[in-house]
């Protein structure tokens, strides 16, 4: 971003500012059943996810002394989750909301909390249950704003939900750089192929570029297969210190670097709209904190509410030049066997839609080396993005494999 001051690359920033034993790691991952899972509230999914994360780490619920909560479109998850879980004397408790960037941000605050000694085992959880058996997913995110004031005016004008806003962003990129719907389709096809290797993915049948091109228009230039799923469920992770994690069961996944960028132009004139996102600022800052280069990254998990979000993020992180995201996506680098290991669980397009927990959970699975048929051979440095609003909020994480700890 031209109007954001770059942070200097401080070799002692972030986790490296803490003594080694205090450095943050992810030591637990809990995923409920995801997808068309009915009859449970967001709070119930959230509580189950935290219990699963605690069990995964091999600790007791009472060991959790910090809790960060995040809710989706239906709300229902809050600091009240403490009571639901019977957690007492917490040393950290906050509800967070920066939309799709929240999961990444939760890891950042939890990491700072454990590195500073504020808390020692912090659970971060997201849950949502917008799907009901009696209505389609389009009814959920397409709800009109209340019919008064500025929001009412936007809705009355026909600008309802995320689809038109992201479509307007994508069209601007197409007009500026020549990006095509077929190029977007390559992203959808590649991620579906990855989903076929992920037992937790909701959509696992292969698709072709022709299938993408034949899928119905939602909001031009987006077809159905450019748009993410909607899922019910919950995902929680545990962030703790390296020394606490040494006594826990799973191999610890170190949090090596982090950054955020919130450009702040929503519904304002923005020369960058659709062309550059906060990833262009957050990406280099997070990599600098981790002390690694983009060329060191083995696996990439990018937030993919739409195929276009992936394409723009690839450019902004520097995997290709600005404007070259379309040709890059179509060049054969994506999908199983490609040279860029991107969204290896199928992402939100084909895997499951748990906002920023989708890329984060797959990153943890890959870092641990437990991804089965889709496991990356090299998985020491993993880049994770979260994107919220209409490209308004961005969070970047750099995670490491357990081998990087040593």
């Amino acid at each position: 971003m031209t109007d954001v001051q770059e942070l200097p690359a401080d070799p002692d920033s972030g986790p490296r500012a803490a003594r080694p034993g205090r450095r943050p790691v992810i030591a637990g991952l809990g995923m409920t059943e995801l997808g068309k899972v009915y009859g449970r509230s967001p709070a119930q999914f959230a509580a189950e996810a935290v219990r699963l994360a605690v069990a995964d780490a091999g600790v007791a619920l009472a060991d959790v002394d910090g809790l960060l909560t995040s809710s989706g479109v239906t709300g229902g998850v809050s600091v009240d989750l403490q009571r639901e879980l019977g957690l007492t004397d917490l040393r950290l408790l906050t509800h967070m909301q920066a939309y799709g960037s929240t999961a990444g941000s939760m890891v950042q605050y939890a990491s700072m909390a454990v590195a500073s000694g504020l808390a020692s085992v912090v659970a971060c959880v997201f849950a949502d249950s917008p799907l009901r058996p009696d209505r389609g997913s389009s009814a959920i995110y397409g709800t009109r704003h209340a019919g008064s004031g500025w929001w009412g005016l936007l809705g009355a004008s026909g600008v309802v939900g995320a689809n038109p806003m992201y479509a307007l962003a994508a069209r601007r990129h197409m007009e500026r750089y020549g990006t095509t719907t077929e190029q977007l389709g390559h992203i959808a096809v590649a991620q579906r192929a990855w989903a076929g290797l992920n037992p937790a993915a909701q959509l696992r049948d292969p698709i072709t570029l022709a299938d993408h091109q034949a899928s119905r228009w939602i909001a031009e230039p987006f077809r159905l297969l450019d748009c993410c799923l909607v899922s019910n469920g919950g995902i929680a992770i545990l962030v703790t210190t390296a020394e606490r994690a040494a006594a826990m069961r799973p191999p610890p996944v170190p949090v090596l670097g982090w950054a955020q960028c919130h450009p702040g132009h929503y519904l304002r004139r923005s020369p960058d709209f659709g062309l550059v996102s906060g990833a262009a600022t957050a990406g280099p800052a997070a990599l600098a904190m981790a002390g690694v280069q983009l060329s060191d990254v083995d696996v990439v998990q990018l937030y993919d509410c739409y195929t276009f979000t992936v394409l723009l993020s690839l450019e902004d992180y520097g995997f290709c030049a600005k404007g070259e995201g379309g040709p890059f996506a179509a060049s054969g680098v994506l999908g199983p066997g490609g040279k860029l290991l991107l969204n290896t669980g199928g992402g939100q397009l084909s895997g499951y839609y748990m906002w920023g927990m989708t890329p984060l959970s797959e990153a943890i699975i890959q870092a641990r080396g437990s991804a089965g048929a889709r496991q990356a051979a090299a998985h020491d440095i993993i880049l994770v993005s979260g994107n919220g609003g209409v490209l308004d909020h961005h969070a970047t994480l750099v995670l490491g494999s357990p081998a990087v700890m040593r």
């Binding site: 936007l154 004008s157 307007l168 601007r172 031009e220 709209f273």
Partner: protein
């Protein structure tokens, strides 16, 4: 598709007085910078004392999307939504009426129009291709 119903509130009262009179009110600060009507301070210099002033009416096309109805409602017409840039600088998001989206290009000249869902609700700014 026509525009939907919308009611004024305290923050939008003066703006909808404008649309009722066929005007789109922008915000202008003492230094003459223009901002979108919903802002609380100037988007250029952050001045907080903003006046509502009518846009001259000229705008150009920044981006567009065509919203397609679900198959079940196939009889309904697709809706073209646009980002328009007023000649004064601010952007606005609304429908483009009466245009074939196949012929659109960035920079196309747009003109303001106004529609209301019915006589009980406020007049909503929309765009047409300029003559």
């Amino acid at each position: 598709m026509n525009v939907g119903p919308v009611n004024r509130d305290e923050a939008t009262s003066e703006f909808f007085d404008g649309t009722a009179a066929g005007q789109f009110l922008l915000r202008r600060c003492p230094d003459g910078h223009y901002s979108e009507p919903a802002v609380a301070q100037c988007t250029t210099c952050r001045a907080a004392d903003l006046a509502f002033v009518p846009a001259a009416g000229g705008a150009s096309l920044v981006s567009w999307t065509v919203i397609w109805p679900k198959a079940a409602a196939a009889a309904a017409e697709p809706v073209v939504l646009v980002i328009a840039e007023f000649d004064e600088g601010p952007w606005w998001w609304s429908q483009l009426i009466g245009a074939d989206p196949a012929g659109l290009a960035v920079g196309a000249r747009l003109a303001l129009d106004f529609q209301a869902a019915d006589a009980e609700h406020e007049s909503v700014p929309v765009f047409r291709l300029a003559d």
